[in-house]
């Protein structure tokens, strides 16, 4: 059962080949057996999952037949889930039981999705290896000595090991696509504003976007359908028409123009194995009729520094609410108000979070604001303009998702700069608010390689179409990590 996609499981449910309860039990069992190796779940909600599955079966018995009715998935622990602990990977929220559902969670509930539990992640989504989690590092199912990527590391590891047929994630600078690439699964970051951020614990509000990790682009399309659209609770979600993303998957991509930004193909800092897989993917797209064109995105080298001003600035403000006053971690026996703040926050936050709060506070401070924050916002506009110009010439842009395959646990955790550079290819999409997808494109020394496609705003359908066509003629996405329990 574990090799099946959501499209296939949905058909099985519709044809009564299995029930949602059976399916849910199957994945719960897999979690029980395999997750001790991976540490991808923070919370498993077995009872609730089985109750939801039973309810879904009842609805199917009454004749309902929505594609996701009875399909189990797991949520990144950044999404608030009513009555269920929601930690954002932080000690700060270890005792926090969310009193409401995130809009993404609500929409999936309405679609009949079963929630298996909550997935591990870098603390407050700050990290690229899932090593900053208060709940411990997550292991990459392809090599347990390596990281699964981050911040949606629990989502990518659980997906790669098929502990769930799909997982949700969030992407602020690559947090869906980078782990998807490192774990050999498909990960979609929709356009900024396409999916509501309500109930998603904020890291950097102008960059955060909810999305999903799944086995195939088709599954991503099925999963995007119910959550896309305007949410009155999120003023930054946009009121744009929502197409049926599955409807155009089978369109031919013959004649589609794909841009290759030369700045992403300098070879500098790139693993040879990754370059080779990306080149093979380009060849594959050519066979499908796509036309490639070299383009230029001159601001590419400014993306990482811009991101590391904007994201920390927003996070420093967003994380101020975690003050030990109303909920979450509070230090023992505070002496006074200042002591309460200082110790609650010093003890409740991890190192990486504190580093970013400090950077963010600095760049917003009087006297530095213009030089850092304001300048970064101006550059961000230029980065956006670069893409706008590029999309006048091409339909999509293709680039590697990451410069290397999964690195060793501990390899970069002492060196934040090299960790930050692992997001070098993914950050631009967030700064420009563009939709992007990472799809499995091969292996280098036994480790998965991802390739990334980017599209103009609200052109997810085009992205999914191209990715789906690619997956019709390749089988990388069908490979499952060879996890064995002794």
């Amino acid at each position: 059962m574990s090799h099946k996609t959501i499209a296939e499981l949905s058909a099985d449910l519709a044809q009564k080949k299995c029930s949602s309860v059976e399916l849910t039990r199957y994945y719960l069992q897999r979690i029980k057996t395999l997750d001790p190796l991976l540490n991808s779940f923070i919370t498993v909600t077995e009872e609730k999952a089985l109750a939801q599955a039973a309810a879904a079966d009842e609805r199917r018995a009454k004749g309902e037949n929505m594609p996701l009715l009875g399909i189990p998935i797991a949520h990144k622990d950044i999404f608030c889930t009513e009555g269920i602990k929601t930690t954002s990977g932080s000690k700060m929220l270890d005792n926090f039981i969310a009193p409401y559902d995130a809009t993404v969670v609500t929409k999936y509930k309405e679609a009949g999705v079963v929630c298996l539990g909550k997935l591990n992640m870098d603390e407050f989504a700050m990290g690229s290896s899932n090593e900053t989690s208060y709940y411990g590092a997550v292991k990459n199912p392809w090599d347990l000595t390596r990281v699964p990527g981050g911040s949606s590391g629990g989502s990518s590891a659980a997906m790669a090991a098929r502990l769930a047929p799909a997982t949700t994630g969030t992407d602020t600078g690559g947090s869906i696509r980078q782990p998807a690439a490192l774990c050999g699964v498909t990960g979609l970051k929709p356009t900024y504003g396409r999916v509501s951020r309500f109930g998603m614990i904020a890291f950097a509000s102008s960059l955060d976007q909810a999305g999903m990790l799944a086995a195939t682009a088709e599954d991503c399309a099925i999963l995007l359908n119910p959550i896309a659209g305007h949410d009155p609770k999120d003023s930054t979600s946009l009121d744009q028409p929502v197409p049926d993303y599955t409807a155009t998957l089978n369109n031919s991509i013959g004649g589609m123009t794909i841009g290759l930004p030369k700045e992403y193909f300098t070879g500098e800092g790139m693993d040879a194995g990754v370059t080779k897989a990306v080149e093979a993917a380009i060849a594959q797209f050519k066979k499908l009729g796509a036309v490639f064109k070299e383009i230029s995105l001159p601001t590419t080298d400014l993306c990482v520094p811009t991101y590391y001003v904007v994201a920390p600035a927003e996070c420093s403000s967003n994380l101020s609410r975690f003050d030990g006053v109303r909920y979450g971690y509070r230090c023992e026996d505070p002496k006074n108000l200042l002591d309460l703040y200082e110790r609650s926050r010093s003890e409740g936050f991890g190192e990486e979070v504190k580093r970013r709060i400090i950077i963010g506070t600095y760049v917003l401070s009087a006297g530095y604001y213009d030089a850092f924050y304001l300048k970064a916002q101006k550059i961000r506009r230029l980065i956006s303009n670069d893409f706008e110009a590029a999309f006048k010439e091409v339909d999509l842009v293709l680039a590697p998702t990451t410069p290397s395959t999964a690195f060793k646990l501990g390899e970069k955790s002492a060196d934040p700069l090299s960790m930050y550079l692992s997001d070098i290819f993914t950050i631009s999409a967030n700064l420009a608010g563009l939709p992007a997808i990472s799809i499995p494109a091969g292996f280098a020394e036994g480790l998965p390689v991802g390739v990334q496609l980017l599209a103009p705003h609200f052109q997810e359908a085009k992205l999914l179409n191209a990715a789906h066509q690619f997956q019709q003629v390749t089988d990388f996405h069908q490979k499952i990590a060879p996890l064995n329990v002794e």
Binding site: R197, S235, S316, S320, R321, T361, L364, Y373
Partner: protein, 477 residues
């Protein structure tokens, strides 16, 4: 040495919306602590602000009423600081791009002249909660009912030069927001709060002196006193060779003094930046036009109309238009009495009614005499049923709840005697009763005329038409 003061005021006006600026929680005052705050107001993880349209409408109403510039878009910013009654660790306010800028409010000075006070800006922002330091045995309590309540902060240019002008400005502003129905203006409940920036300089000096900001002044009288105190404190510091420290001070009404709260050295860096959870607020022409149509007649427009249409004096028109409720009372009354009695009605309201209300510490909304009752009395004066003097008795009776003017007149038999023969008879009787005085008068002691009038009025229990009494007496004497 002569000194002059420069004063700028920042006024926080709570907008009377049903729900909060960024959430659907109710805004009613006086509820049990923490019962009117939802997860958005409490700053829970993952929640997002959604702007209240009604608050925007009310801010626009204010902007349009002072002829301000309404920029095509404004931006919400975060003002970051830590305090337990500030749940998110930042207040959503507006920084460089406020919803209203560059307006003017004309105030009326004691000499009747008008002085324009420029308003720099007015911006939308959310209020914080309240910290309660009593009754918690060394700990503090937090009430977040007020957290997220919509405010507009109205910032004036330093055009004000005395405490009296400051009070006139605040009263005009207060009247305006009540006219516009954008705030209840309740000062005790904190719906209308003022911070005063005060500096002094020697007369003739062009450079402004160092200013202090005095917070927490929540009545017109306290504003006046706090500013007066601050001006004289600054002058005495400077005259004794000291320097003014730029600082925030708190007014203590019990001691009538201001005290330093925090100085600039300790000033927080609020790290303002545009709130990424909210898009820029775009105001289009259509929206502005719609709001413009909802604007009521403004106090100064009403004042003008009272002068030109009703022939009131500038002074009377100003008093009657100073409060929306008072103006409504007046206008309701003259609906019945008609424009010709407007002046008489105005006199009765400004003189007797306001006097009585003042004495009994009542506001016009709680007047025991309704506008219709007052109008009924005015009508009887106009048609000569009662004299102005008798009207005082009728007024008193109505105040005591004895019904309409006609009821009182009938019950107490107060109808004026206008029948000539009756008056002649009364005069004859008096002249017969006082032969000595009559002889003296006829001998040239004309000052006795008043004596005879008084006796006739007394004999008729004040009901005789005084004018007629005069005429008859003149003839007969």
């Amino acid at each position: 040495m002569e000194w002059e003061a420069t004063i700028g005021l920042e006024v926080h006006v709570q907008l009377s919306t049903k729900s909060k600026l960024f959430s659907g929680a109710p805004t009613a005052y006086g509820a049990e602590p923490n019962t009117q705050a939802c997860f958005i107001d409490l700053g829970f993880p993952g929640v997002l602000p959604v702007l209240n349209r009604d608050a925007v409408m009310k801010a626009l109403k204010f902007g349009l009423s002072i002829g301000a510039e309404i920029p095509p878009y404004s931006v919400f910013s975060r003002k970051n600081y830590f305090y337990p009654d500030l749940p998110k660790g930042y207040q959503i306010s507006q920084g460089d791009h406020p919803i209203v800028s560059h307006g003017v409010l004309n105030i009326r000075l004691d000499n009747g002249e008008s002085k324009p006070i420029r308003i720099t800006r007015a911006h939308l922002e959310e209020d914080a909660g309240k910290s309660l330091h009593e009754d918690f045995h060394g700990q503090s309590g937090i009430d977040l009912n007020r957290a997220g309540t919509p405010l507009i902060e109205i910032v004036s240019e330093p055009d004000i030069t005395s405490s009296a002008e400051a009070v006139a400005y605040l009263k005009t502003l207060h009247s305006l927001v009540r006219y516009l129905e954008i705030s209840d203006g309740n000062m005790q409940e904190g719906s209308f709060r003022c911070d005063a920036n005060v500096s002094v300089r020697r007369k003739g000096e062009t450079k402004l002196g160092t200013r202090t900001e005095t917070k927490n002044v929540n009545s017109f009288r306290f504003v006046e006193k706090a500013i007066e105190y601050e001006i004289s404190r600054q002058i005495s510091v400077l005259e004794s060779g000291g320097e003014i420290v730029q600082e925030t001070r708190l007014y203590d009404s019990a001691k009538n003094e201001t005290r330093p709260m925090r100085s600039k050295e300790e000033a927080t860096d609020y790290r303002y930046f545009p709130d990424p959870d909210l898009l820029p607020l775009v105001i289009n022409e259509k929206w502005l036009k719609d709001v413009k149509e909802t604007l009521p007649e403004l106090p100064w427009e009403k004042q003008q109309r009272f002068v030109t249409e009703l022939d009131l004096s500038d002074y009377d028109a100003n008093i009657l238009s100073s409060q929306r409720e008072l103006a409504n009372y007046f206008e309701q009354a003259i609906k019945t009495t008609g424009k010709t009695a407007a002046k008489l009605t105005a006199n009765w309201i400004i003189g007797d009614l306001l006097g009585a209300l003042n004495k009994n510490n009542l506001d016009i909304a709680r007047s025991p005499i309704s506008p219709d009752q007052l109008a009924g009395m005015i009508a009887r004066i106009s048609d000569n049923t009662i004299s102005g003097k008798i009207a005082k008795t009728v007024f008193e009776a109505m105040w005591q709840g004895e019904g309409s003017a006609d009821d009182v007149i009938a019950k107490q038999g107060l109808t004026q005697i206008t029948d000539d023969s009756a008056i002649q008879q009364a005069v004859d009787e008096i002249l017969t009763s006082y032969p000595t005085q009559l002889a003296e008068y006829r001998a040239g002691k004309e000052s006795l005329f008043g004596f005879f009038v008084g006796q006739v009025m007394k004999a008729t229990k004040g009901k005789a038409n005084p004018q007629q009494v005069n005429e008859v007496l003149k003839k007969k004497l």
